[in-house]
């Protein structure tokens, strides 16, 4: 197992070093805005804040409420495209 985790760490490092991770992050962000995911979640945020009270809301509250919903709301097309790009990267840089 440690070989695997070492390898994963190495892959992640390569992802970051080559700037690919940032590019993927930007791509994901742009796609999520485009498809309305951000607006949907923002509306959900408004409900949560109204519920908990404007003064007492904390980052932890928001994270706990938003993250699971956020994961579920990502459209399939966006998910597929991102996975495709990741797999392409892994295939191109399989030997380290």
């Amino acid at each position: 197992m440690s070989k695997d985790s070492q390898m994963r760490a190495a892959i992640n490092q390569k992802l970051i070093e080559m700037g690919e991770r940032d590019r993927l992050k930007e791509l994901l962000r742009a796609k999520l805005v485009e498809c309305g995911w951000k607006d949907q979640l923002k509306a959900h945020c408004k409900d949560v804040i109204r519920e908990k009270g404007l003064e007492h809301i904390t980052v932890e509250d928001l994270v706990a409420e938003i993250t699971p919903k956020g994961r579920a709301l990502v459209p399939d097309s966006v998910k597929k495209e991102l996975l495709q790009r990741i797999k392409t990267f892994l295939a191109q840089h399989s030997t380290l």
Binding site: I11, I57, L83, L96
Partner: protein
């Protein structure tokens, strides 16, 4: 780290798939966290609910979709058929023709000086022609000057190019202008002769 340990090509597809899923999952979580921080800051700085308006105001600014009216609800061809009174000549002019009329009427604008010059030229011609009938000596000279109208047109154009004021031009040409109708041609054909 030894080279052979690090090779991915030895990995089977499921592990590759799982790795890709993990990376994707991290990216999504980053996006969610980014949104949470953005929202939290907006709440604490007080601008999160800034763009919310109450229902009544929303109704006031709704997009209008009726025929004959633009999206704000204003009538946009309201002024097409209206007439305006010219302050200079006190005539009633249609709204769409008002600006060009005002240009000519007030003597400002690009074309009005040309038209005025032509009118002066033609009126001088009429005056000079009637005079020359009475005077004998000048008859001979008149014939010489008959094609001088073309010359005058050429001269006029070359004088126009440096920024000479209108008045000196028309004064100059008063002396030169003799001869028949050709100088009363419309502006475009005069220019054609000059070229």
């Amino acid at each position: 780290m030894k080279m052979e340990d690090m090779s991915l090509s030895g990995l089977d597809n499921t592990k590759l798939e799982a790795l890709a899923q993990d990376i994707y999952s991290d990216l999504v979580e980053d996006a969610c966290l980014g949104l949470c921080f953005e929202v939290h800051r907006a709440v604490k700085q007080g601008y999160f609910f800034l763009d919310d308006t109450d229902q009544e105001s929303m109704k006031d600014f709704e997009i209008v979709d009726q025929p004959g009216v633009d999206i704000f609800g204003q009538v946009y061809n309201q002024w097409k058929n209206k007439e305006c009174v010219c302050p200079n000549c006190n005539r009633s002019i249609a709204a769409s023709r008002f600006a060009p009329h005002l240009e000519k009427c007030l003597g400002m604008g690009r074309n009005s000086s040309r038209i005025a010059n032509r009118r002066i030229a033609s009126s001088n011609n009429m005056n000079n022609k009637s005079e020359s009938d009475q005077e004998d000596n000048d008859d001979v000279n008149d014939n010489d000057w008959s094609y001088g109208s073309e010359k005058k047109a050429k001269k006029r154009k070359s004088d126009k190019n440096p920024n000479s004021p209108r008045r000196s031009k028309s004064v100059k040409h008063k002396n030169v202008l003799l001869g028949p109708k050709p100088c009363c041609r419309s502006g475009s054909s005069v220019r054609a002769v000059e070229r």
